[in-house]
Amino acid sequence: MSPTTATLDTAAQASLGTPVPRLEARDKVTGTARYAAEQNPPRRAYGWPVPATIAHGRVTAVDTTAALALPGVLAVLTPYDAPRLGPSDDPTLQLLQDTRVPHRGWYVALAVADTLEGARAAAEAVRVGYEAEPHDVTLREGHPGLYTPEEVNGGYPAHREHGDPDAAFAAAPVRVDVRYSVPPLHNHAMEPHAATADWDAGRGHLTVYDSCQGTTVVRTVLAGLFRLPEDRVTVLAEHVGGGFGSKSTPRPHVVLAVMATRRCGRPVTVALPRQHLAACVGHRAPTLHRVRLGARPDGTLTSLTHEVLTHTSRVREFVEQAAVPGRVMYAVRDSRTTHRVAALDVPTPSWMRAPGETPGMYALESAMDELADALGMDPVELRVRNDPATEPDSGRPFSSRHLVECLREGATRFGWTGHRPPLREGPLLIGSGVAAATYPVYIAPAGARAHARPDGSYLVEVNATDIGTGARTVLSQIAADALGVPLDAVTLSLGNSALPPTPVAGGSAGTASWGWAVHDACTALTDRLARHHGPLPDAGLSASADTTQSAKQKPPYARHAFGAHFAEVQADTVTGEVRVRRLLGVFAAGRILNPRTARSQFIGGMVMGLGMALTEHSGLDPAFGDFAERDLAAYHVPVNADVPAVEAHWIDEHDKHLNPMGGKGIGEIGIVGAAAAIGNAVSRATGRRLRELPLTPDRVLAALSVPDTGPV
């Protein structure tokens, strides 16, 4: 297939582009939508894991006597007697296989009982002996363990350099050299990770309901771990209560649930307590940034250096690719974007909504704002001036890039005036800020099937997972349009690993990847139907598609979505509290396939960005090696009262170099840049530059207590 793909025709009754309400909306508002822990097979038991209470060392003994003596306790699995697992690429899934404790919260046992209360009590009654070793959980500049990895998350090279950024920086008439810090953050989807596993020894079949972002990968990994043929494992995920990256690959709960059902011979649900999540399902790694920008007095960038330090665990290397946006954003010949990482005694970091771009654009877009201040230039104009004609790192042309249009449109809608002076209302300081957003276009091969039934209805099968994105709805729209039929003629079946393999809901690539397969299957079915004469056979007609060839084509284009955020904030000089008054985003993300669900995605990302800016923080306690914020009382996700008027708009892009639907993916870009816009607004309001997130009252008050030293 040529890299230029035809875009779906807007047929007469086209459903794509219209604000179709979520197809599962009724199930969700009536409480009939069932999630993984809500499957209730007969004789179901409950598992409750036991987390390690040391940060580094090993287990020396596990005394299960008291636990097993409790009523209704079926088993306690320990490192000494748990089933031996087969191999997995992800070492965090090798649970209870040895006695080593790589971080606090690592699971060291699993109690199983016939009631939830019994399992919890049994887990508490398990006595674990440890031999503790010294631990180190603190990332800092100059940490002796820092090294440059080969690549960072997403498969990007860790280090890229063009020209001589140091010489260019030294020669630049206007310079900023600034450091930012983003703390560890946690996804905390509202549904804690849970799985209900049911091993049918008679049939030799394992059925698992898992709260995950994709069942194909869960099936593959479980089949490997439990040494079962893949066709003896079925993983189901009809409804998933959010993921934001933390459910992208199998997590410990599902492995433990399967161990337990195999050991006990009855179905077992493992629903992780919220307090366990911080340590065992991933987090956004902390990042320390140093950004150096050099420019001419007219704002033209002459040097860009973005250096990122981050941590990973001793179990698995995961490197947050926070310097990567600098390879995409601005036209500058001399640049360096680089990462170094230290493996510490910390839980294993993983994906959280727009990994890399989220912290990276916080730093880069804050530094751009500081440069605009140093230049005395409107930060919108600074970005416009440095908008590149081709992707700076690769030199490839953009398939489409409308960042400037997003900035202009946003400025108009927001009422942005380049150098609006800060306002004061009583004790409140008020100011506005702007930042850009970017997120790459990813796509992965997928399969789908379409069936025409004699009654005129259609069944489309694709192993998508709708974690709240609206995938079920938009894929049905894609199918209806490709079949040329009304939406209600199509039934979509998803969330089942027995369907052809598909990638996960991640990387903002779900709609593109699954949708392409749905489109191709439905187009093939339409062709078959056109050639068919007379009534359909009782079994109907079917067609299938596999996009392995087309999705793997590497186009000669740089493909990214772009956007711009505008924020107005108030900072209270008495309490130090910052509140966002308005947040407005404009995005250019290809064709918007369903404006209703798309708006919710954009806004949801912006709200998470607001949390990152103002309230969200997971701190690693140096003494105990633990995340101090382990529940929703301590880890502050934004609440309704924190979230003011939030608006999302978009620019219609017609990009022929993406996929048949013409969309770029929208799940992540909403969070990218939002924290920078808010931080820049705080700086404008207060005259102080805070460079460490989140912007909590203590930090704001401390900054305000230092005299304003003139323009920031």
Partner: protein
């Protein structure tokens, strides 16, 4: 940052059961759940949330934290909203419980709030939604009864509270939504709040 105006948690309005079943750790308890009497023999450790989810197979009420921190488990207990994960079921003998499953009419007609949530796309993953809906019913009742909130300008004023967007945000801040559907939730509640039927539920009307 902000806190919800939590009404006092419903106490054991009808007393604890005096007819403990065999054994020290279990008791019989009778609840009226969505209008139907449900007799249960429960371990004392069972919360109302787990009684609903694990014993009555009413899984609409969600468990987001089990510690009263997220509101996903919000139900109405004798007409007032409460975090069901913080209540032990055996303390609620004789109480009326309304869950999300009890909001729509028996003929399937959605409650005004459910309708508004669908219309305004006031959710994504849907996991917080049952709690948001039950909490919104409770919040509308509290406003109608004149309960002030933290942002009510004149807390001493008599009569129903005017539900501005700010009031709705404040009153629903005990219900977290990690999908960030708050702006749509506020619009949905404002919209449904104009419908006098929104403070009622079908099962309660039928009692």
């Amino acid at each position: 940052m902000a806190h919800a105006t939590d009404p006092p948690a419903p106490g054991p309005a009808h007393g604890t059961p005096d007819h403990a079943a065999a054994g020290d750790h279990r008791s019989r308890v009778s609840l009226r759940v969505n209008g139907a009497r449900r007799d249960l023999d429960l371990d004392h450790r069972v919360t109302l949330l787990d009684a609903l989810r694990e014993h009555l197979d009413l899984t609409g009420s969600k468990k987001g934290c089990d510690h009263g921190q997220c509101g996903a488990c919000t139900v109405l207990v004798d007409g007032r909203r409460a975090n069901s994960c913080l209540l032990l079921a055996v303390t609620l003998d004789g109480c009326g419980i309304t869950t999300v499953e009890g909001l729509a009419a028996p003929d399937g007609a959605l409650h005004p709030l459910q309708r508004a949530f669908v219309e305004h796309d006031a959710f994504q993953c849907g996991y917080c939604t049952p709690g948001q809906l039950c909490s919104a019913v409770g919040a509308l009742r509290e406003a109608a009864a004149g309960h002030p909130s933290h942002v009510t300008a004149d807390a001493a004023q008599a009569g129903p509270a005017v539900l501005t967007a700010e009031e709705i945000r404040e009153r629903l801040s005990g219900n977290l939504c990690r999908c960030g559907a708050y702006p749509a939730i506020v619009r949905a509640v404002a919209d449904a709040g104009t419908d006098p039927a929104a403070t009622g539920t079908a099962v309660e009307a039928a009692v």
